[in-house]
């Protein structure tokens, strides 16, 4: 079987920008996408290297798009191009290499990311400072290239080696050893040693000042500076947002008790206070007995109403709630972005965040 699959003929589609597509430089960056049958520019080199590695590869088509056109019309370009590419029934799509060309790198990343979930393997290459790297490294296998076209052959060779593995359906366990950037994705595996032994070994190395490798390198954390206090609340619209899981009874949106994948938006109109009959905690990370007894303990509507009269602010008509328990930072950021857009649209000027 292995021999048979090795002797198979593979169909590859190549994506390039206007420069590598032979159209022209920056002055042609606005050209609309078009397709050339067969390889073009670096595609010829790729095809030659595939064959040198004994992979019977035909680059059946080269898809070209101007970098500026892609950047300005990404959504429509992807909507139109992805079916065109898949129409060639490719076993693999290669995009770039993009080197340090920012818009080109973004386009290569976007194309690969759109294809992968559809079951079409797609790879690209770029320089470590290309903005496409940060944007797409988590979802796309990106080969590390030099910053200029002088590194073309080296990048092409690495792409071909990776491409052959993907053509053969091999799982890429360690992108780094394939010459790719680490995807920054945590993946579980079974170590030979239980964790307690690894911990003691690591401590002995640390004590002896021998080199050791942490199993989780500490990431850079966002720190949000608090805004200055508002001098006067009169007339200001204030919203309540909580990660403490206070939802209408029955948890209508089924917000998970841990690892929340969503948040809810619930009305406060006509509510003077929260009651145990009407609201509850959906949060599984703390003893919610007392929050269920009196939900104001986590989402202080009763106090808002009192202070509203005293200080003259306007409470927003809705509150937002999610569960902070084990919820990934990426999900939390996504919720915050969506909630913030709505709050700004609705004229909210200040937010009180309650957590548990």
């Amino acid at each position: 079987m292995a021999e048979a699959s090795r002797s198979r003929k593979y169909r590859v589609v190549h994506y390039v920008n206007q420069f590598f597509g032979g159209v022209g430089g920056e002055e042609k960056a606005n050209i609309e996408p078009f397709t050339i049958q067969g390889p073009q520019g670096p595609g010829r080199l790729l095809e030659k290297l595939f064959r040198e590695e004994k992979a019977d590869v035909d680059i059946v088509a080269t898809v070209v798009c101007g970098d500026s056109y892609f950047a300005d019309h990404q959504e429509t370009v992807l909507r139109d191009l992805i079916p065109v590419i898949r129409g060639y029934d490719p076993d693999l799509v290669v995009a770039g290499p993009a080197f340090n060309a920012g818009r080109y790198g973004m386009a290569c990343g976007a194309i690969c990311r759109s294809l992968e979930p559809l079951g079409t393997p797609a790879i690209t290459a770029m320089y470590k400072e290309n903005p496409g790297l940060d944007q797409y490294r988590k979802t796309v296998l990106i080969v590390e290239s030099s910053n200029t076209v002088s590194g073309m052959e080296d990048a092409a060779r690495k792409m071909v080696r990776l491409g052959i593995k993907r053509l053969r359906g091999e799982e890429i366990e360690s992108p780094k050893t394939e010459g790719c950037f680490e995807q920054g994705i945590r993946k579980n595996y079974f170590h030979e040693e239980p964790a307690y032994r690894r911990a003691i070994d690591m401590l002995l190395r640390k004590i002896n000042e021998d080199p050791f490798q942490t199993e989780y390198p500490i990431p850079f954390f966002d720190r949000v500076e608090p805004r200055p206090a508002l001098p006067d609340l009169k007339g200001v619209t204030i919203a309540l947002v909580t990660s403490g899981g206070i939802v209408p009874t029955g948890n209508p949106d089924h917000i998970e008790s841990s690892s929340a994948s969503k948040y809810g938006k619930y009305p406060l109109d006509g509510l003077e206070t929260l009651e145990s009959k009407t609201h509850q905690s959906a949060h599984g990370g703390y003893d919610n007995t007392y929050a269920n007894e009196d939900p104001n303990r986590v989402l202080p509507i009763d106090m808002m109403r009192t202070l509203e009269k005293e200080l003259g602010f306007k409470p927003h008509r809705y509150y937002y709630a999610t569960v902070g328990n084990g919820t990934s930072v990426d999900n939390a950021k996504k919720f915050a972005k969506e909630i913030a857009v709505e709050l700004i649209r609705d004229g909210v000027q200040a937010v009180i965040l309650t957590s548990t």
Partner: protein, 451 residues
């Protein structure tokens, strides 16, 4: 009236630990051990547990490794043990009054069954307890899949409060474990395996080696963090709720006797059941190679409370207590995740600030796709971390023929979701729901790395 015994100059506390292997479980009267098979008198055990007025019904069942059985939702797992030391019973302070500082910890013998555990299940307060699969892909993630289980499915009377409910079920597991131990582990005992564990010298003792006059061996201490965040997130030391305590030193082999009892099971992957506490592998390894490969300087337990002030106070005290042991380095194990990440980082940074090196054991919550950052708090000094796996990673568990407990709760478990049931009866669930799968005392081999 009793007084603390003088300790200076005395021999270190030494415990002989004998293990009697159980090869199978069955129901028969009387409760006994027969040719390696543990037989349990159903009526006697049931009526003992039903003497708690809050308990309405107890159903007993047996689960064996390799069987198509799912145990859900699990409250606690306990290994039956019997202390042969007069006046120092197992579960000190829980089944009888005990103050470790008044009585001291006497040396002597303890016997345990090996290969068999008591497992309590039943809907506790609605959601969040974990599951054990006895076969299939889930079995690889938990040491409990390799144990024989006596499962106690407990129903409480209607109308009792959640805290009383939790207490009743916690105590039922302890009582059942004690009942089995008393029934079958009294001498003369069948042949088993045994080992002698010698504790570090009390740091107050003149015989205790200090770093300054050390013998060239690295001195290692252990900071043992216990989750203490309220109902179903609590832990007990000698019967005392650890959230009401300050950090303190313990004699490491106290854990063998059940001095630390679990009252928590939510987000089951990284909660220490009582079994985990009784068999803490960090303590056992540090004791077994103590005096040969290193000097075990001692063990400090600390809590993970919910307020910032408590966290600051406990971490300052824990760091001070660790420093009093004059170690070169310290292993720090965490329990739970999220909020306790802050306790872990405070402990780490305050201990490192005293010139003592740290290694931290933690699991990760990096999202189902592994793309998110794993901890809710970090510190630049946390440069030596052992990962016990990403608990958000999803595993597909096929249906099991037998469910012990109630699997209707599976969508509500921490790690489950309203969409986790697949059309073929499988569940796609986060590792979070498998009890002990990412245990931070380091029992398991799972880890996580960058892809």
């Amino acid at each position: 009236m009793s007084y603390a015994k003088p300790r200076a100059g005395v021999q270190p506390v030494t415990h002989q630990w004998n293990k009697i292997t159980v090869s199978d479980l069955g129901f028969s009267s009387p409760t006994r051990l027969e040719n390696g098979k543990l037989l349990i008198h159903i009526d006697e055990l049931t009526s003992l547990l039903r003497s708690d007025p809050n308990i309405r019904d107890v159903k007993l069942a047996i689960a064996r490794p390799g069987e198509s059985v799912r145990i859900i939702p699990v409250k606690d797992v306990i290994e039956p043990r019997l202390s042969l030391i007069p006046d120092y019973p197992v579960f000190p302070g829980v089944l009888s009054g005990w103050d470790p500082d008044v009585n001291g910890i006497p040396s002597g013998e303890i016997v345990s069954v090996s290969g068999m555990v008591v497992t309590t299940v039943g809907s506790i307060v609605g959601f969040q307890e974990g599951l054990i699969d006895m076969s299939g892909p889930g079995a690889r993630y938990s040491l409990f899949s390799q144990k024989l289980h006596l499962v106690l499915d407990i129903t409480v009377k209607e109308g009792i409060g959640r805290h009383d409910h939790e207490t009743s079920i916690r105590m039922a597991g302890i009582k059942a474990s004690d009942y089995i131990a008393r029934s079958v582990l009294t001498p003369p005992l069948p042949a088993g395996s045994g080992e002698t564990l010698i504790n570090p010298e009390d740091p107050g003792s003149p015989a205790s080696p200090k770093r300054a006059v050390g013998n060239g061996k690295p001195r290692i201490a252990y900071l043992y963090m216990l989750q203490t965040q309220g109902l179903l997130h609590d832990t007990y030391y000698c019967g005392v709720d650890v959230k009401t305590m300050l950090p303190r030193r313990i004699v490491p082999t106290e854990v063998l006797f059940g001095a630390i009892v679990s009252g928590n099971c939510v987000s089951a992957c990284d909660k220490n059941t009582t079994y985990h506490q009784q068999n803490n592998p960090i303590i056992l390894e540090l004791l077994r190679r103590h005096g040969t490969d290193w000097d075990f300087a001692g063990c400090v337990i600390t809590n993970e409370n919910v307020t910032l002030g408590d966290k600051q106070r406990s971490s300052s005290l824990a760091a001070e207590l660790i420093a009093s042991l004059s170690p070169d380095g310290v292993i720090v194990s965490k329990e739970g995740f999220g909020n306790p990440d802050a306790d872990l980082m405070m402990n780490c940074s305050k201990i490192e600030a005293l010139g003592i090196k740290t290694v931290l054991l933690t699991d990760e919550f990096a999202g189902q796709d592994g793309a998110s950052q794993s901890l809710t708090d970090t510190h630049p000094k946390a440069d030596a971390i052992v990962s016990t796996g990403n608990a958000n990673e999803v595993i597909v568990l096929p249906p099991m023929e037998t469910v012990l407990g109630d699997d209707r709760v599976i969508t509500e478990l921490a790690g489950g979701s309203s969409k986790c049931r697949l059309p073929d009866g499988s569940v796609a669930i986060e590792l979070q729901a498998l009890i002990g799968s990412t245990n931070q005392l380091g029992f398991e081999t799972i880890s996580s790395r960058f892809k």
